[in-house]
């Protein structure tokens, strides 16, 4: 069972806000899906390794022209010159 704390923590990790009612519903939904997933425990996977995918290729270290910053920033909700703007970051 997924606890309320788990749901709330997951919402935080997801950067999503929910009302109390929405959280209730999400908890119900997640629990029904997660309990359906218990079916996987019927499969013995003790002898199965970790890697599942084929081997990939790499590219050469050769420069291609970058994209015009105007294009990259054309959808930016806020910008200043060619920089994206965000609310003040404090570290």
């Amino acid at each position: 069972m997924i606890s309320r704390a788990d749901v709330e923590n997951t919402a935080k990790l997801s950067r999503l806000e929910f009302s109390k009612e929405e959280l209730d519903q999400i908890q119900v939904d997640m629990n029904s899906v997660i309990s359906y997933m218990e079916i996987l425990n019927k499969v013995n996977t003790s002898k199965v390794g970790d890697l599942v995918r084929e081997i990939g290729e790499m590219r050469e270290d050769e420069i291609c022209p970058s994209v015009d910053p105007e294009e990259l920033l054309k959808n930016a909700p806020k910008k200043e010159g060619t920089a994206f703007v965000v609310p003040k970051v404090i570290d």
Binding site: I2, D6, V7, N9, T10, A11, L13, S14, R15, L16, E17, F18, I26, D29, M30, S32, V33, I34, Y36, M37, I39, L40, N41, K42, V43, T45, V48, G49, D50, V52, R53, E54, G56, E57, M58, R59, V67, E71, L72, L73, K74, N75, A76, P77, K78, F84, V86, P87, K88, V89
Partner: protein, 477 residues
């Protein structure tokens, strides 16, 4: 040319009509745009304002003797494919409602190179998460066979538009059945290619290890033609690994001697009797036409759905984390940076997308990773092995596409009931194999039923042989 007749042509026929001067790209494009404009299907969400100009250009090129295998053919893209033109790449999400991509998807480049006229973008479930088109942030697409029913999803608009004669073909994307299922429910042909065959560059990612772009068409031959054009490795997508191949030559090729594998566990998954019967009839048809039928076993096929929802949600949660409202998309200013993240994402995503993000982050979060994510990757390997074993005995597997025909809007109220609609399609994505969905009959309400053929890695040729043979010799009622 008579408009209805013009719109009903296959791509092959349309190109022939262009060549014979019976019609032009301009005429065909205008006919499609007009059909879309007057349509009740909501299949198309973004119209390319340049479409008619592009069609005129294509006509000019043809007059000048320039070549292109899709020169002048009006085509639709699913709304999750990036285009650097006047259209948004919205994924039918409020988050990306006005987003204009700074680059073209590789498949778009390939279509343009062959002279295709991209007339618009098709409706879909938000970020491709859904099986009915009901999660689209825009007006939901409808099934052309019955407007009170869903067209399927997530490429619902792509399939509805092809079936509704609003374009000559479309591209969809398939993560767990999103090409095959709406194709089946709308009565058209859809291919989910072998993973790694078609570049995903410029496809807004849902689940990167499962997503593939594929064609949705009215004929198997058109499908093979389109697939031939869009497939092949892309140096900007390192998961592609395949040299270009030809597929049209498989259309109408003999099927005698091919082997069809029946997996009892697969065929026994829950489905309506009408659907099951139609699939059995299709098996009979192949048997009668010289195809050998053998029994194979996929003992863990009933685990595929759980594997799918863990892996796809985990990847989706991560893939959708870039939607933070900083560089593009919805931004709702909060009291500080973190609050801005919360508010933008909360306002930008619909309920189903949020559910998947939550599920995905849950199965990846500390303490649950091994139990869910890792376990799922292990069962995925077991399934891969089972499919590998099955393909030692046969060229092709057969299964229903969807447990039922297109249902009515609002009929499925819980997430699980919606997810169950994917039960026949998701195993294919989990194991990376190619599958084709094509019409094999109708139910008592005259709603289309599709069948699914699944081949081994890189063996779309077998799919095209078998599907085109059925199309030619059996036809659809």
């Amino acid at each position: 040319m008579d408009k209805t007749k013009l719109l009903k042509l296959s791509i092959t026929e349309l190109i022939k009509a262009f060549e014979l001067g019976q019609t032009s790209s301009e005429e065909a494009t205008k006919a499609c745009l007009e059909k879309i404009k007057n349509s009740q299907l909501n299949a198309v969400v973004h119209i390319n304002e340049d479409a008619i100009n592009l069609a005129k250009e294509a006509d000019k090129k043809r007059r000048e003797g320039k070549k292109g295998r899709l020169l002048g053919v009006p085509i639709l893209l699913k709304a999750n494919m990036c285009t650097k033109d006047n259209m948004p790449t919205s994924c039918c999400s409020n988050f990306l409602k006005d987003f204009k991509s700074p680059y073209n998807a590789t498949v778009v480049e390939k279509l343009l190179k062959e002279g295709a006229v991209i007339i618009g973008k098709a409706n879909m479930d938000e970020f491709a998460m859904g099986a009915s088109n009901e999660t689209s942030a825009f007006a939901k697409a409808k099934n052309p066979h019955d407007l009170t029913r869903i067209p399927g999803g997530s490429s619902g608009g792509s399939a509805a538009a092809v079936a509704g004669l609003e374009c000559y073909a479309s591209l969809g994307s398939d993560t767990g059945g999103s090409i095959r299922q709406p194709s089946a429910l709308c009565g058209v042909v859809g291919l989910k290619p072998t993973y790694g065959s078609v570049s995903r560059r410029g496809l807004v990612a849902f689940a990167s290890s499962l997503d593939q772009i594929g064609p949705i068409t009215r004929t198997v031959e058109d499908n093979a033609l389109l697939y031939e054009i869009i497939m092949g490795e892309d140096e900007k997508d390192s998961t592609t690994n395949r040299k270009p191949e030809k597929f049209v030559q498989n259309i109408g090729a003999p099927i005698k001697g091919l082997t069809l594998g029946l997996a009892k566990e697969y065929l026994d998954l829950p489905a309506d009797s009408e659907v099951k019967q139609t699939v059995l009839n299709t098996i009979d048809f192949y048997k009668k036409n010289g195809v050998k039928v053998v029994e194979v076993s996929l003992p863990n096929i009933d685990k595929a759905l759980a594997v799918y929802y863990i892996l796809s949600s985990a990847e989706a949660a991560s893939n959708l984390s870039r939607f933070d409202g900083i560089r593009y998309g919805k931004r709702v200013e909060g009291k500080d940076l973190i609050d801005t993240y919360y508010k933008s994402r909360t306002a930008g995503f619909g309920a189903e997308v949020k559910r998947r993000i939550m599920l995905g982050n849950y199965v990846l979060s500390s303490g649950f990773y091994d139990a869910y994510y890792k376990k799922a990757t292990k069962v995925q390997q077991v399934l891969k092995q089972e499919f590998e074993n099955a393909f030692l005995k046969c060229d092709c597997l057969i299964a229903p596409v969807c447990p039922q025909v297109a249902w009515h809007f609002g009929e499925k109220s819980t997430p699980i009931s919606n997810y169950m609609a994917d039960i026949f399609t998701v195993p294919v994505n989990i194991v990376g194999r190619p599958a084709i969905s094509f019409p094999c009959g109708v139910n008592k309400d005259n709603m289309p039923i599709g069948v699914q053929l699944i081949a081994d890695m890189n063996r779309e040729d077998v799919l095209y042989k078998l599907a085109s043979y059925f199309e030619k010799h059996k036809g659809v009622k």
